[in-house]
Each structure stands twice: as C-alpha cells, then as structure tokens.
C-alpha cells in the first residue's frame, strides 16, 4: 500500500500521471510530458514534489562525532547554515545511502536521505549513534518541494527579500516565512540547475505549491514529475542510489571520492576502503554514438570482452542524444575509448566521455 504525499490531490488536479515510487504515489509526468518538463528546468523553471525524501535530525553534544563516525565526509569545522553531501557506508565500504547534511547549530543537524532507504538508514544510524546524540525520523511531518531552473531566483525574489534567500550553492536558511508559512530554504537540487529545495510542515504543502505556481507563472514555471527528475539528474551525471551505488558498490568506485575523507581518524567502512586501495572498477559516462538508447543493467563490451555494466541510461532531452553511466574495469576507462552495449541482443556503439554530460552555463 503506497502512501500519498501531502500534495497528492494537487498532482491529480494538475493532471499528473501517478505511479508508485519508493512507497509513495507520485506523478511521473504531467500533461506536457517529460521532454517539455525537462526543457522548462533547463531554460525556465520547474516545480517538483519531493516530499517522499526522508529527514532525520541529529541533536546533542556528540552529534558531530556521531555524524563523523557514520558518514564518510568530514563535518568538523562546518559552519551553521551550510549543507554538505556525504555517503553512508557499511563495514565493507559499500554504500548504505547517500545523504545531505544540514548544520543549524553546534548540536543541531538534519540529514536528508533517500525515501527508499529511510527505514534501513534509520536502523543503521540508530545502531551506530554515540551516547549523547538523539536522532529522530521527522519525515512524516515535513513536505519538500524543489524549485529548479534559471528563473528560480527571480521567482523566489517575488516572495522574499534577498536576505531571506540563501545566495550560495549548498547553503540554507531556516525560519523563513513565505506567505506566513515557516520554511527552510536550501540552495540545492538534483537537476544540475540553479534552484532551491524548500521544506515546510505538511499542512502548508498545498498552499506553498500554489504560491510558487502563481509566482512562477510569468517565468514559465511548470510542474515536473519523476520522469524529468531522472533525465535531469542523469544529464547532470548526479548519482542515484540503487543505480550508481548500492551496498556492494563503494563510493570510490562510484566516483564520489570528494565526499569521502579517508584522512579522517575513523568512520564506518573506512578500513575496508583503505584496504581495497585504488578502485578496480569506476563510474564512467557513455555518449551513445550508435543508433538506440542504452539503459540501465546493459552489459558493456570492447569487442568480445565484457568490461562492465551500465547503471543508468536514457535519452537526454536537452543534449538531444542518448547517454548512460556505467561501472567498468578501471583499466578500460580512458576517455575516448570506443565501447558497445548489448541492448536487448543488439550492439549499440558508445564512447567514454567526461562527466557530467551537461554543465549549466553560469
């Protein structure tokens, strides 16, 4: 039985095509379709319901030590109001999840996790929390919407004075009132575009959605579903849990070393990562040069030699061509390498290219 987010009725009214996803009923697209929604985010603005995401608070005098123990990134010296990406590893160095960590005070953090991993993550966190840290899963009380696209700052400035809007990427402001609704505004997103993720109590969700829709109308803002969320993140080469990483893929293999501080004294999974050394397989980008679309779980070859497997792939609407990400043998990962993927029995040619496929202009 799937849950409804606080915006379910709004999605129906907006013409959303509803599908089950990570235990929730969410729109995969609205009437305009995935390509139009994708292009709106690249060129104007799009609004997503991401209320399914999980939120877990970490509070208390040892909260920082707990986070440094269970997460791969280093939160020492992080300033309040900052946001930091991290992976959470198991003892084998595989990925339990990837998360965003918000710091609001020395003893006050919020960790945002993938919806599909929420229960598993909380159990893992609870089992590894140090004395003096209280953790709480507050997901059910929070709605989250993502306003993404180059027009996002102009839309926000219609609703708030500039000083109440976070100005730098990966910063956040709490206690911001939008039309009387108490919100946390984060300058983050999962599209490769400028934008915000806005958190508020569930009872505000509908009003917040409508307020943003009205403010964004003159800028061409449209509602966007899970389909565009996936094509946008893939074009921007942002990893998705269950695809580019899972319990058996390390963050170093997934190309996430920027969020893994092996120099830290200790964290769960560190010993396994150090022992494994340089990854023997790595995440690469594939630009499809042949005819067709390479999707996830397709074997990648050089001639007769199997060198890896794709983790995600689709048609990229902004680039106007197909692209995929793959985990392949490190010794075959050089840029420019010509490979082939087995697409339902047919070989489709591709080339290893730098990630991301798309970089925003400003």
């Amino acid at each position: 039985m799937e849950l409804k987010t606080p915006l379910y009725d709004v999605h129906i009214a907006e013409g959303g095509r509803i599908v089950p996803f990570a235990g929730y009923l969410l729109p995969v697209q609205y009437g305009t379709g995935v390509v139009a929604e994708h292009m709106a985010v690249r060129e104007k603005a799009g609004l997503f319901d991401v209320s399914h995401m999980g939120e877990i608070t970490f509070k208390g005098p040892t909260a920082l030590r707990t986070l440094n123990h269970i997460l791969t990134n280093d939160f020492t010296g992080m300033k309040a109001g900052r946001v930091r990406y991290s992976v959470m590893c198991n003892e084998r160095g595989g990925c339990v999840d990837d998360v965003l960590v918000y710091k609001f005070g020395e003893e006050d953090y919020l960790v945002v996790v993938n919806a599909s991993n929420r229960r598993k993550d909380f159990a893992h966190m609870a089992a590894n929390t140090l004395e003096g840290t209280e953790i709480e899963d507050v997901s059910d009380s929070l709605a989250q919407v993502a306003l993404q696209g180059p027009a996002s700052p102009a839309i926000m400035e219609k609703l708030l004075p500039r000083e109440r809007i976070p100005q730098k990427y990966y910063t956040a402001l709490r206690g911001v009132e939008i039309d009387g609704m108490n919100c946390m505004i984060s300058r983050t997103g999962y599209t490769g575009e400028n934008g915000y993720e806005i958190y508020t109590a569930c009872e505000n969700a509908e009003k917040l959605w409508k307020t943003l829709r009205v403010a964004g109308a003159e800028f061409g803002l449209i509602p966007c579903g899970l389909g565009a969320r996936d094509t946008l993140r893939l074009e921007a080469a942002m990893p998705l849990y269950g695809h580019e990483m899972d319990e058996d893929i390390t963050p170093l293999e997934a190309g996430l070393s920027f969020g893994v501080k092996l120099g830290k004294e200790e964290f769960i999974g560190r010993d396994a990562l150090v022992a494994a050394g340089e990854p023997k397989r790595v995440r690469v980008g594939l630009a499809v040069t042949g005819r067709g679309i390479i999707r996830e779980h397709q074997d990648v070859f050089i001639g007769g030699e199997l060198i890896g497997r794709t983790t995600s792939g689709t048609h990229c609407p902004y680039l106007g061509r197909a692209a995929a990400m793959a985990l392949i043998d490190a010794k075959h990962a050089a840029l420019g390498t010509a490979v082939e993927a087995d697409v339902r029995g047919r070989r489709v040619a591709a080339e290893i290219v730098p990630l991301p496929f798309y970089v925003k202009k400003d």
């Binding site: 995969v28 995935v34 390509v35 005819r291 679309i293 999707r295 689709t314 048609h315």
Partner: protein
C-alpha cells in the same frame, strides 16, 4: 479520450492497420503513443524482412520506457517509414499519419478489432 478513427482496424496490443494498394499499413495508436509519452527512438525492420503475426517487428523507446510493436499479420516488409528514424516524435504528433511499415503478402492475421471494440480495450486499460 484517445483518438480512434472508425475506418481503421486495431489489435489488443495497440497497433492500427489498414489496407492500401494491396499492402497492409501498420502503425501505433494514439492511446499507445500517449501512454508511452515522448517517443525518442524507433528501431524498424528492413525492407524484405519477414514479419509474423503476433511477434515484435519494431521497438519504440520513450524517455522512460521501451516497448515492442507487434505485427498484426504475417508477411514481408515492403516499405518502411524512414522519416520516423530521424523524427520519432511524429508518432506522438500524428499517430495515424506516422505509419511504421507496409506489409505485402499478408496472411494469418491476429484477432483484429473494429474501433468500438478497441475503444473498449482502451477503456479497460485505463480502469486498471
């Protein structure tokens, strides 16, 4: 509601067909194109290939999914619509103009539906 022209025949798997100059012209219905969403790639057979009633002869990829297209009759591919290879979005824009293949020597048809029967199939799928 999907557009279902009365003069065409249909299959339960959402192909449309008609006879034209002794050939069977096959395409994908408006209902199917809409269900797939934005179509971004089509793989067609080659002229001269044999097709078999009830078996896949092409695949259609939308942004989110790949779907087989099944031949309503057995026969030989006489023509393919090469314009679709470069402009697959025409299936979304004009599903009954954007034919896929024309088949010669057609025999052994799958169960074919008239517009009213096909409309009932679509209605049942929308309910599900």
């Amino acid at each position: 509601m999907a557009n279902i022209p009365a003069e065409l025949k249909y299959t339960k798997s959402h192909e449309w067909l008609k006879e034209e100059d002794g050939l069977v012209v096959v395409g994908l219905t408006d209902f199917a194109a809409n269900a797939l969403g934005d179509i971004v790639f089509i793989n067609l057979p080659q002229v001269g290939d044999e097709v078999t009633a009830g078996e896949s002869f092409a695949d259609v990829e939308s942004v989110k999914a790949v779907s087989d297209v099944y031949s309503p009759v057995s026969g030989r591919v006489a023509e393919i619509n090469e314009a679709l290879l470069d402009a697959p979005e025409r299936v979304n824009q004009d599903p009954y103009g954007a034919w896929f293949i024309k088949i010669e020597g057609a025999a052994g048809a799958e169960e074919l539906l008239d517009a009213a029967a096909y409309e009932a199939v679509c209605a049942a799928e929308e309910e599900a």
